[in-house]
């Protein structure tokens, strides 16, 4: 698989001498083309600094990176890249469609193409009816939508999203997920920097966890969250023999009222066996809910509850 992002020993230090702080410390990472990569970490971990270095907003102190096969700072490559910054308070008097048209022209689009793309991205980001509204009058959520719209106006091959859902309502987040998965389907690589782990969990194939400027883990989402280990069950007509069989199968069982119990299993394969034991024993399954360790749990485990890993 070809790489969309290759980072080698990227470091960014702020300050000088003994007061110097490494915001990003010898980061090395590879993101393949077509991937949705989640970049996680607590506040101050260096996520935004990393994205800013990759987007060309700040310069690395040392190290190197290549985007779409070209070194950082290659102006022509930026035509294939989209960037959505974290917090922007736009004070422009321009109307939404003019402001987006300006960004389209910065990508070198002619007037006709620019108009068509503006219309398209406005519809896609839920701004279809706001073409004539002044950008400065937008709410924070609308502002985030239009900033996303400028990031995708060039149909990028590589898209950097820095906290894209922080000001979005549930509807906006759903739209964002659809945009992200839609872009992935057309081959766009997405580098998603987010605090919203539930959002990351829904769209990312692979995640990296950054803490104190160092990359402490990169893995597939499934490998980080781990297999299903716990299952919540509600069943009627469980005999004492069936209960004993369940106890023998599971590492741990906690029986509750109304035929409810929670079983902790050693492997995901035991889920089927558990259901079989209940039904063969004459029980009637009413609920069977396997629980996966959430990304949040896995994340907290990686960085430590106090972020001190």
């Amino acid at each position: 698989m070809e790489a969309a992002i290759e980072i080698e020993g990227l470091t960014k230090t702020f300050g000088h001498g003994p007061d110097a702080i490494a915001s990003v410390d010898h980061l090395s990472l590879r993101v393949d083309k077509g991937e949705i990569f989640g970049f996680l970490g607590p506040n101050g971990a260096g996520k935004t600094t990393t994205v800013k270095m990759l987007a060309g907003i700040i310069f690395p102190t040392s190290g190197a990176a290549r985007l779409l096969g070209k070194p950082l700072g290659d102006v022509a490559t930026r035509a294939r890249i989209g960037f959505m910054p974290e917090t922007v308070r736009l004070s422009t008097f321009m109307r939404a469609e003019d402001w987006l048209g300006f960004h389209a022209r910065l990508y070198g689009m002619d007037a006709g193409r620019s108009r068509a793309r503006v219309k398209e991205v406005m519809a896609r980001t839920g701004l279809a009816g706001r073409a004539g509204s002044r950008v400065r009058d937008f709410s924070q959520g609308m502002m985030q939508r239009i900033i996303l719209a400028q990031a995708i106006i060039n149909e990028p091959d590589l898209l950097f999203l820095d906290e894209p859902a922080s000001a979005l309502d549930p509807l906006g987040r759903r739209d964002l997920r659809e945009i992200i998965t839609g872009l992935r389907d057309r081959g766009t690589t997405i580098f998603l920097n987010s605090h919203l782990l539930s959002e990351v969990e829904l769209v990312c194939g692979r995640v990296g966890i950054l803490n104190h400027g160092k990359l402490i883990r990169v893995d597939k989402l499934g490998d980080i969250t781990g297999p299903v280990q716990v299952v919540d069950v509600k069943a009627e007509g469980i005999s004492s023999e069936t209960a004993a069989a369940i106890r023998r199968l599971a590492a741990k069982v906690e029986f509750g009222l109304d035929g409810r119990f929670t079983a902790t299993l050693d492997s995901e394969e035991q889920l089927g066996k558990l259901a079989e034991i209940i039904t063969r024993g004459g029980g009637a399954l009413k609920e069977f809910s396997p629980r996966r360790i959430s990304l949040e749990d896995a994340f907290l485990e990686e960085i430590g509850e106090d972020g001190s890993s």
Partner: protein, 267 residues
């Protein structure tokens, strides 16, 4: 670059500083006949001699006022220019587009330059036409003088614009104001030197004036208009070293801004 320039132009036209500047300009235009009257001169329609001289003086004063208002407008419009764009995140979005940093800065500068030049030309030409139609005299010396006002306004704009790459608006205002005051006051050594016939003082005074050359070129406005009604215009006063110096000064400031921006970490 053109896209950035047009964007800058459109943005600035709607800014409060621009609206306030236009308001002051209109008040100034409305009050000009009063200044002229208190100065003892009147514009006599279709006459020569005394009336023509008074009209030339009126144009000279009017242009001097336009020069000052234009420079202050340029200053207020560009004080926070690049710094504000960086602070509010607008620049982060522009800089990730396929444009070099030098083109972004040059485009922004070109937008401001076009706006301020347009402003000076419109107001200046309205004044000129009014007087030319009133007196029947062409006052051709006014044209190069108007070009010098454009140059002065561009100089002041370029200074505050270039400093806005480094400093926020308030610090920029303080710095440029100090440079302006220092240049104006220290250049008085030149006047004292000339009065006393001391060449060294004259040279020292002139060197201080070079820190911000708007005063040097500004001095020529009045004499250009008043002394040359009906003369052939000498565009940009060929051979005038101070004008050449001011052009180089603008280019050097812009280059300074570009170089600083190329290495700058943005927010």
């Amino acid at each position: 670059m053109k896209t950035i320039a047009v964007y800058t132009l459109r943005q600035t036209l709607r800014s409060k500083s621009m609206i306030a500047g236009l308001g002051v300009s209109l008040l100034y235009l409305a009050a000009l006949p009063l200044f002229s009257a208190t100065g003892g001169g009147t514009v006599t329609v279709g006459s020569a001699g005394q009336g023509t001289t008074a009209a030339a003086q009126f144009l000279g004063y009017a242009l001097g006022g336009l020069n000052l208002i234009g420079m202050f407008m340029a200053l207020f419009l560009t004080l926070g220019s690049i710094h504000t764009d960086i602070e509010n995140g607008t620049m982060a979005m522009i800089i990730t587009k396929p444009l070099s940093r030098a083109r972004i800065i040059t485009g922004r500068w070109a937008g401001y330059a076009a706006l301020m030049t347009g402003y000076v030309l419109i107001i200046g030409l309205v004044l000129w036409l009014a007087v030319v139609l009133g007196t029947g005299e062409p006052f051709l010396g006014y044209i190069p003088a108007l070009a010098l006002v454009c140059l002065n306004v561009t100089t002041m704009m370029t200074l505050t614009f270039a400093v806005s790459v480094f400093l926020p608006a308030a610090a920029n205002a303080v710095l440029v104001f100090l440079v302006f005051i220092a240049t104006t006051n220290l250049s008085l050594i030149n006047v004292a030197g000339a009065a006393a016939g001391e060449t060294a003082e004259t040279i020292i005074g002139n060197l201080f004036r070079l820190m911000l050359p708007v005063g040097v070129v500004g001095d020529q406005l009045h004499s250009l208009v008043v002394n040359s009604p009906g003369q052939t215009p000498a565009f940009l006063v060929p051979g005038n070293l101070f004008v050449a110096y001011e052009v180089i000064y603008i280019a050097a400031l812009l280059q300074l801004g570009v170089r600083a921006f190329k290495r700058k970490d943005l927010k």
